[in-house]
Symmetry: C2
Subunit: 190 residues, 2 copies
DNA sequence: CACACACATTGATCCGGGTTAAGAAATAAA
DNA sequence: TTTATTTCTTAACCCGGATCAATGTGTGTG
């Protein structure tokens, strides 16, 4: 089941006793999304954080009718609009399922409750954010230090089977260029 | 004194009792840096995190003899190479004092010790990282969503007295463009 | 099968910022 | 103040990717 997945995932961060896991998992809910469904829309409040069990999502800003894709959420990855979750702001981006998906979520209220009940969840949360921070720092750096071409090559190197499942124009958008631009890069490196 | 500053700062995140503060502050050390000094160099290990008391720093990557400035650390801001601190990796960038500076630091070992001794430090740490995450997320977004021109205007709007203290070419580097490019933008908007 | 629609490629042109190089302005040093 | 050094501006040229537009390729639907 999904809970096995999640449990293993969280155990990478902290060791949970069986009782602790029972308390924690009582707050988890599993939700299904069909391809094209939205986990979050612009102006929604983001009251959950979670992990992707199956399928994958992207998130994008809609500006002047154009989708600016800023990232993807893959299986076993954290999923949320975390800044909005923390600040209780309206989301400025969309999170959309690119395939049929399953995610395991926890509501803010339950998380805050767990912070009180289980000190280890504090540690867990800290370590998860630390990882998020390292990830986004890395992406930020690479955006300055590498050319679009290098970023493209880095991407297909890092996730070989990733390209096959995502249309070209999304990757282009993710890399901050036009589909035409990406097409030319591909031509050069073939 | 500096400790008053820091205490106030930390109290924004968690309420510390007097005893807790005494335990925590016993691990804090204050260090002075003259203009031009390095708080961290490439290939150094980063064993401390801290806050800036006075003055300010920048951090930059040195690539092919060129400094790529990626950010600044201002008074009352967190300062570290946090990914390297966490992973115990060698730093890939420099942190340099742009004025005479004073910082309050804590060593990794002391922080880990405090995690055990004072559960509130777990909370504190989590909240600090959450803020770091939100900040870098914002910078990352703005890099895609705004033109260089917009980013420049946003910057001088956000930190009016900031420009005066930093040479143009550093701001250009920070914005990911050449000094010449920034000069043209300035001309356009004058 | 034929058709429609979404996606990818290619070509022509445009444009912003990079690059190079020179000169002006400001700041520091003598 | 004069000189030297750093910083900033300006101009000429170049180049990569954006834009616009047309064509090609594919996939699924009636």
């Amino acid at each position: 089941m999904m809970n096995v997945n999640i449990k293993a995932l969280l155990t990478n961060f902290v060791n949970l006793t069986e009782e602790e896991w029972l308390v924690l998992s009582a707050s988890l809910v599993t939700k299904q999304y069909k391809k094209g469904d939205y986990l979050l829309k612009e102006n929604d409040y983001c009251n959950h954080v979670g992990f992707v069990d199956k399928g994958f999502f992207n998130f994008y800003y809609l500006i002047g009718g154009v989708e600016h894709i800023r990232g993807f959420f893959f299986p076993n990855e954290f999923i949320s609009n975390y800044p909005c979750f923390l600040l209780e702001n309206k989301s400025k981006f969309y999170i959309q399922a690119l395939e049929d998906c399953s995610v395991t979520l926890i509501h803010r209220n339950d998380l805050l409750m767990l912070y009180e009940k289980l000190p280890k969840v504090q540690v867990l949360s800290r370590k998860i954010v630390e990882n998020l921070y390292m990830e986004v720092s890395g992406k930020y750096e690479s955006f300055f230090l590498n050319s679009p071409e290098e970023r493209y090559l880095e991407l297909i190197n890092k996730r070989p089977n990733f390209l096959q499942r995502v249309p070209q124009y999304m990757i282009a958008s993710y890399l901050g260029m036009t589909p035409e631009g990406l097409s030319r890069i591909r031509k050069r490196n073939s």
